[in-house]
């Protein structure tokens, strides 16, 4: 009889995984979608009950705003794609810098990673929003930098820090004997990293990376705080334009449903990949 049950190990393992990827694991199930749907129907009911005689029906109201909200959602997605792309590329370099043989590079990368992981996402968002210029002039050509690009960069920073930890963790999870075997076959360090170690890491990195992406997508609503016209901002605008009591639950559950429909397959796939990897172990 072991002193502690498998539950203890599971908990510790998930805590360590969380620490490694910097993001908690999303656990989305169809039941969540069903619950959101119920909340939405309930919200519609409340709104209908509180409607004044001259108000249009709640569904008509939501339908009216849907194209605008969809445009906002497209913005959320665009921000998430670009932030993820930038954060991933930068994170890769930072991750490899963290295992560099040059102490200065290693320490610098370690500090950078900690700095951006410890800073709240919202503060980083503000940082980029306010400190990046609204336009740059290169060779006499003035290029405007719209707000949403700045927000994207602001979100890419924590993504970078988290990706770098995912990369470092995955590299260090490869047994040192693989490095030794490669060395004894006369591979140099660069070749070993890129041809032997890194390809083995990809499978391990994919689940936490996808989880991070789902978290990032949900975090794009933070951009509403700094005034980017994404879905949450537009929802608030729609609500104030309607100026009707009781619309709140219907609208917010509607927004959440959109996010659920988008994130659910990703979360599901992540869990599947993780399970497959765990079996292979």
């Amino acid at each position: 009889m072991p002193v502690l049950l498998p539950a203890a190990e599971r908990l510790l393992r998930s805590a360590m995984r969380e620490r490694a990827s910097g993001a908690r694991a999303l656990q989305l199930t169809p039941a969540h979608g069903a619950a959101l749907l119920v909340a939405f129907v309930l919200g519609c009911g409340i709104a209908q009950a509180q409607a004044r005689s001259y108000d249009p029906s709640i569904l008509a109201t939501i339908w009216k705003w849907t194209p605008l909200l969809a445009r906002g959602f497209a913005f959320n997605l665009a921000i998430s794609f670009i932030a993820m792309a930038i954060g991933t590329v930068a994170g890769f370099f930072l991750g490899f810098a963290q295992i560099s043989l040059f102490p200065a590079v290693k320490r610098g990368a370690w500090f950078t990673m900690h700095f951006f992981r410890n800073a709240p996402w919202l503060v980083l968002l503000f940082y980029c929003m306010f400190l990046l210029p609204f336009q740059v002039t290169v060779f006499g050509v003035t290029i405007p930098i719209p707000d949403w690009t700045k927000a994207t960069l602001g979100l890419a920073l924590p993504v970078m820090a988290n990706v770098s930890e995912i990369v470092r963790g995955a590299i260090q999870s490869i047994p040192t004997t693989q490095w030794e075997a490669a060395a004894s076959l006369a591979f140099n360090r660069r070749q070993t990293q890129w041809m032997i170690i890194f390809p083995q890491c990809i499978k391990r990195m994919l689940p936490p990376w996808m989880n991070l992406y789902a978290i990032l997508t949900m975090s794009t609503v933070l951009a509403s705080i700094v005034g980017v016209n994404e879905m949450m901002t537009l929802t608030q605008r729609a609500l104030s334009a309607e100026n009707r009591p009781g619309l709140l639950l219907a609208f917010y559950s509607y927004v959440l449903l959109w996010f659920f429909v988008y994130c659910y397959p990703i979360a599901r796939w992540t869990v599947r990949l993780e399970a497959r990897y765990a079996v292979r172990q």
Partner: protein
């Protein structure tokens, strides 16, 4: 402290780096109150979320099916929606309803709503963490304690809880560190915490870059210290012979 403040005034004159939060008494007091608010918010939410976690874990172990289901749905709802949406839900949704009932003025302040919302957010994770921690203590250990004459309460207080807590600590720490970072969201409902007062300072003094850096460093230190202390604590409490 006066020479330090004077040095920052001199710095402004000499380099243009305008750190009003150091040399201007009014800004200094403002920023300090924001810092204190962030720390208070974090501390209160940490305590409340732990209380929620313990209660929730206890209910989940109870025989009342209805109560278990309620807790289950609470966890599911709060761990899978963005905390910002939760905050809006409490402040605008519930707060709005209460306002509708109570008349003109807000019945519950925005600070309270932030505390309630953030505590429930982190609490949802804590319930799961504590429950797993309790599950990890084998039934035979409990039986051994009972056969040694411990009462049910004593068994919980002296055996199950200390063990479960040690097992839960790493996951709990992750969650609490995350909670402290999430307190910045209170900005969205105008709670005067560090981010909010900083934005007030920079819009009055037009020193955005300086304030941004002060803010970033403050959070880095705050969270960094928390992480460090928690990890030390974790190491001190680690169950020997158990770990990955």
């Amino acid at each position: 402290m006066q020479p330090v403040w004077d040095w920052f005034r001199w710095l402004y004159g000499a380099t243009g780096i305008n750190l009003t939060v150091f040399y201007d008494p009014f800004d200094r007091a403002r920023f300090a109150s924001g810092f204190v608010m962030t720390v208070e918010l974090s501390a209160v939410c940490i305590v409340l979320s732990i209380v929620i976690g313990v209660l929730g874990a206890w209910i989940q172990g109870s025989r009342l099916r209805v109560a278990r289901t309620v807790v289950h749905w609470y966890i599911q709802a709060f761990r899978n929606t963005p905390p910002l949406v939760q905050l809006y839900f409490f402040y605008f949704g519930l707060g709005g309803l209460l306002r509708g009932v109570g008349g003109s003025g807000p019945v519950v302040s925005n600070v309270t709503w932030a505390i309630v919302s953030l505590s429930f957010f982190a609490g949802a994770f804590n319930v799961e963490i504590f429950r797993s921690g309790i599950e990890a203590v084998p039934r035979t250990t409990v039986e051994a304690a009972e056969s040694l004459g411990f009462s049910r309460m004593q068994t919980y207080l002296r055996i199950v809880f200390p063990l479960a807590f040690r097992i839960s600590l790493p996951a709990l720490n992750n969650n609490l560190v995350n909670l402290v970072k999430t307190t910045t969201l209170a900005y969205a409902i105008a709670v005067p915490e560090m981010l909010y007062v900083s934005s007030q300072v920079w819009s009055d003094e037009l020193n955005v870059p300086e304030m941004m850096n002060v803010l970033l460093i403050c959070y880095f230190l705050l969270v960094g210290i928390l992480v460090y202390v928690m990890h030390r604590w974790e190491r001190a409490l680690r169950v020997p012979g158990f770990g990955i």
